[in-house]
Symmetry: C2
Subunit: 447 residues, 2 copies
């Protein structure tokens, strides 16, 4: 009943079967595996074994597995396929959206050849159409396969037509109602179809309230709409309102996941989409840019320290890390809140209002932190002047960092730059430098 | 065709209608609004207006709107409802999972009373059952409404029974096949149902491969499975394999979103689930814990600096921020990678292997950063000893921070503590302190 799960023992056993070319045993072993798990297996196996296994799989299953592979492994495995094999063994077994995804990853010169080698000209046209939409738009991730009925039909005819159309569609999530020009009018619920007399015309029972997107809507907006309205599928229309495709929840879950990961990585100072099983080189390359920016901030900080001539007040050095760290932490907190509210909310307060609020939060937290530090420095027996300097600097740094952390992502967003860039090392680094500057400026006044 | 969207103008206009008690105009205005948008409207309106509006809505629509409200506003609005109104106007119009959610938020003494006031004893029993599962388990988020058919039936009977069952189910995502004991055997696809003769027995056409979860599986694992296998709905079984409920993709999208937000907030140093429109007090409370931990780190750093007596080498102070910041950045990068791989991957490498890899990444990045800093410090005309100290310290700090950032979340995970705790200020703060310690220790050896 339950599909089987992959573990290291299974991977090793299958590698051993493949070593002995015991293809039958492999196929028997994989009988109850989900294509997604077979894909994971192919990623875990050494490339030559993975190739052997993929060739051994039945054609349809192989195609499904290929869809589920990560891009790198897919490229490695598809390299040996002829254009004809690619077209007729892989692409022809796939839904239009998966087919378009895989084709779009091929080298430019192969794309055209693969499309020419498809036996069904309709499929070739559909895929070519999907490839024509700009990246990250609804058009680029939609699928062409859908079930639609004409508003003028009776339910009996719907059932008949649906039977015909269902052959081509993997899972029927919605039945769309269109007019004679193929313009989307609404949806027909399965419930209505099951519970109404088959002689009733569609026009009498379909639901006119349907949320759709046009082909040029950004995928993140599609994801936001589907999540907000709990949609399992959303129809895509062209600028004339004609139904051209549909996007299902699974594609949107992937978009959400990628978005969350990208924000998270950005906040953690990783500049490329990497995973812990990538190569040491790839991981280092993803880490260095932010580290170097952080170091640039460190060098500027060193100029600030030199400029104020720390050797005159060496006792100030002890609290430099505290000031810098607090500024950094506050800034990241503010920036993260903004990034999150921009991602969730279509309904935004004004920048001024947000800044005023952050001023309030900054003042509250600053007062708590500064009073505490005043007590601590006094307890540590630091000179009164230093205690005052540290406390006053803390207040200024926290308030400044809170507002800076709010201001930067809001501004980036205004200029259509991903506000998540503001989180992580960027705000931290800037706040480090400015924090130290404030610290020494306060010291100059007081000491 | 498209449902209408909410904006400030609409909110103001509706507030004005409500002011004049022009209920008819409000209802006309809201005719084409999705319940989700009406909920958002209720959150934006002042409480007295929100109450007026909610009372004006037709009962079923009001119930749907209540489900979509945020918890705080829902509590405010439901306060005026009698137990009887709650049961018969709200709960009876809802699916079991939504009903259980709303009831679970009520004060303990009202829960029992509401259940007693439900007219349908089956519904009361179902809700009470759902309330009995532990929080964050599959049982606690599943719904009881589903369409199931017996394996021994013919398709004709399935259609008839489904017609009956569909009355109670909002959207039919899957048809489950069970045996006489109600044990889950598989699923019947709509496609099969549409395209096979109605005289065929279910047993001949249903799909035996079905991924299910037991009631005690954690919701994050449910989300992982549904995302991995692209499931729109997953059946939930009890320990005997009996079908007891189902979880749909929309509940899982919410879980994913919450999970992503929690990790993101943790990485950004926010200790509570807050949003930018929460109160200044709530926002300050969510920020202070990490700030105070960061400050504790700062105080310890100050002890390190005092211990090594910075006044002997005041020129070292200039590079303290650089050393601390780099250590912090590297540590967060490592920790974030671990958190992400733990969240995505069920298939983990050993801790030793991960640490060795991070040692590699640490050495590569450290070499690049240290060489650069050596050149920069030389160019700034710093003494040779200081250049060497900064570079050597950087190497040690980066390598240490990389491994520490990997080790901590892996260890937390081993002890079943959320590894995301390790990201953000915690690792940064520790690395700040240890980084300074390394810096001064290297200096002692060299200068």
């Amino acid at each position: 009943m339950q599909t089987k799960k992959l573990n290291q023992t299974t991977v090793d056993r299958i590698a051993e079967f493949l070593e002995r070319r015991a293809t039958e045993s492999v196929l028997a072993e994989l009988e109850d595996f989900h294509p997604e798990d077979i894909a994971e297996l192919l990623e875990r196996l050494d490339l030559p074994y993975a190739k052997l296994l993929l060739y051994a799989l039945p054609e349809e299953k192989a195609a499904e597995v290929i869809v589920n592979l990560d891009e790198e492994r897919r490229a490695e495995l598809l390299q040996d396929y002829s254009v004809r094999e690619l077209a007729q063994e892989v692409i022809e077994n796939l839904d239009s959206d998966d087919a378009a995804d895989i084709i779009s990853e091929l080298p430019q010169e192969r794309i055209h050849e693969v499309l020419q080698n498809l036996e069904d000209p309709d499929q070739a046209r559909e895929i070519a159409d999907l490839l024509s939409y700009e990246e990250d738009t609804a058009g680029s991730i939609m699928a062409k396969e859908l079930v639609k009925v004409n508003a003028s039909w009776k339910l009996m005819r719907c059932l008949r037509e649906m039977r015909r159309q269902a052959e081509k569609v993997e899972q029927v999530h919605a039945i769309y109602v269109v007019d004679d020009e193929d313009r989307l009018l609404g949806t027909l619920s399965l419930k209505k179809l099951l519970t109404t007399s088959t002689k009733t015309p569609v026009a009498e029972v379909y639901d006119r309230k349907v949320i759709s997107v046009t082909t040029d809507v950004h995928v993140e907006e599609v994801a936001r709409l589907m999540r907000k309205y709990d949609l399992v599928v959303i129809p895509v229309v062209d600028k004339d309102g004609k139904l051209v495709g549909r996007i299902t929840f699974d594609d949107v879950m992937d978009v959400m996941q990628e978005e969350a990961e990208r924000d998270y990585q950005m906040a953690s100072g990783l500049t490329q989409d990497v995973e812990s099983d990538d190569s040491i080189f790839a991981l280092s390359r993803a880490r260095l840019p932010w580290l170097l920016i952080g170091m640039l901030g460190g060098v500027i900080s060193s100029r600030v320290v030199d400029y104020f001539d720390i050797s005159q007040y060496p006792e100030m050095a002890a609290f430099m890390p505290l000031i810098a760290a607090t500024g950094g932490n506050v800034g990241v907190q503010s920036a993260a809140l903004v990034v999150q509210s921009l991602a969730n909310d279509s309904f935004n307060e004004s920048i001024i209002k947000k800044l005023l609020k952050d001023l309030g939060v900054g003042l509250v937290t600053a007062t708590v932190c500064a009073s505490l530090m005043f007590a601590v420095t006094a307890a540590l027996g630091k000179p009164f002047n230093l205690s005052i300097t540290v406390s006053l600097a803390l207040i200024s740094v926290i308030v400044f960092a809170a507002m800076f952390g709010t201001f930067v992502p809001l501004t980036l967003n205004k200029f259509k730059i991903d506000p998540a860039v503001a989180t992580g090392p960027f705000v931290t680094t800037t706040n480090d430098v400015i924090g130290l500057f404030i610290y020494f400026s306060v010291a100059k006044l007081i000491m």
